[in-house]
């Protein structure tokens, strides 16, 4: 089973890279882009019998390693199913 984990800086945390990317897009004429947040994307191939089990394992992985809870939040999608905000 495949879980996709999206890690981004919390909304309250300034993202210097995202800001720089936004400025670059503005330079290219994309003034309609009002903001950019840069993050990380992980694909986990998980040996699990149910999507719920895969999600639980992916959540633990995100909590313990993939995201730093001090500055980052994460979102998990399992297979082609629905997205769910975890925190």
């Amino acid at each position: 089973m495949r879980a996709r984990v999206f890690v981004t800086l919390k909304p309250s945390v300034f993202d210097p890279q995202g800001t720089t990317v936004a400025e670059a897009l503005h330079t290219l004429g994309y003034g309609a882009v009002k903001g950019v947040r840069q993050g990380k994307y992980f694909e986990l191939d998980i040996d699990a019998s149910t999507p719920e089990d895969a999600r639980r394992l992916a959540s633990e992985a995100a909590e313990k390693l993939l995201a730093n809870p001090v500055i980052e939040s994460y979102r998990i999608e399992v297979d082609a199913g629905a997205a769910e905000a975890v925190r």
Binding site: L9, V13, F14, P16, Q17, V70
Partner: protein, 237 residues
């Protein structure tokens, strides 16, 4: 006294630290490989600068799984003096030995320059030989030294006098211009609750001889020699 300098794959200031301790300060120093499980009876531990594990995932994030970190944690919890320099500071944050996290520098550039930091408190093993308010001219070299913690955490650090080094101007003023990376409250270094674990982004080990532009960093290493000489941390070994 004996210093242990931990070597991670990707550490690149390990030899600088070893040199400063052994050849400038004249103390004993040993390299400890990250897969080792003993600090070899050292009196103080240095986590050096560099790019441990290639900075994969996040700076310091993988280093906390290195076997030696169990021993570093135990040593720290027993009250032993631990100094994290630059990447070593980032490792201490990821390992949970110090609070907070590092963001990319506000400039989005790797900042490599001499800065001035003020010693805010002298009651740590690495600042005991400093004067309160002493200004140290020490180099920085990092891309992710923009210290961040939740506002209540920062307030707690300030109240408990745990901000040990702050970026300041040449005359000691805390201003946005003196802040090279965007760190909250110009924080350059802090200590643990018990004050024995200290992390800072600047490189004192690279400022131990006038021949390299400044010897201001030596006082941190002299401090821990003084502290250990007073027998304050014998229990940790």
């Amino acid at each position: 006294m004996k210093f242990a300098v931990v070597v991670f794959p990707g550490s690149n200031c390990d030899h600088d630290a070893y040199y400063a301790v052994r050849h400038v300060l004249g103390q004993d120093a040993v390299f400890v490989w990250h897969k080792d499980t003993s600090l070899q009876g050292a009196d103080a531990v240095i986590l050096p600068g560099g790019f441990a594990h290639g900075d994969y995932l996040r700076t310091g994030a993988i280093a906390r799984f290195s076997p030696i970190m169990h021993e570093v944690k135990r040593f720290a919890e027993a009250g032993g003096p631990v100094l994290g320099i630059c990447n070593g500071f980032q490792v201490l944050l990821e390992a949970g030995l110090l609070p907070g996290a590092m963001l990319r520098n506000r400039s989005v550039r790797f900042q490599c320059e001499h800065v001035v930091v003020k010693v805010e408190h002298t009651d740590t093993p690495f600042t005991v030989a400093c004067r309160q308010g002493q200004l140290l001219r020490i180099p920085i070299a990092h891309g992710e030294g923009n210290y961040y913690a939740e506002p209540d955490v920062v307030e707690g650090l300030e109240k408990s006098r745990r901000v040990i080094f702050r970026y300041v101007t040449a005359v000691g003023a805390v201003t946005p211009d003196a802040n090279p990376n965007g760190s909250v409250n110009n924080i350059a270094g802090l200590c643990s609750e018990r004050r024995n674990v200290v992390g800072l982004m600047p490189h004192p080990e690279r400022a131990c001889e006038l021949a390299v532009g400044s010897a201001d960093g030596l006082v941190l290493l002299e401090s821990v020699v003084t502290s250990v000489g007073q027998g304050a941390y014998a229990a940790a070994r």
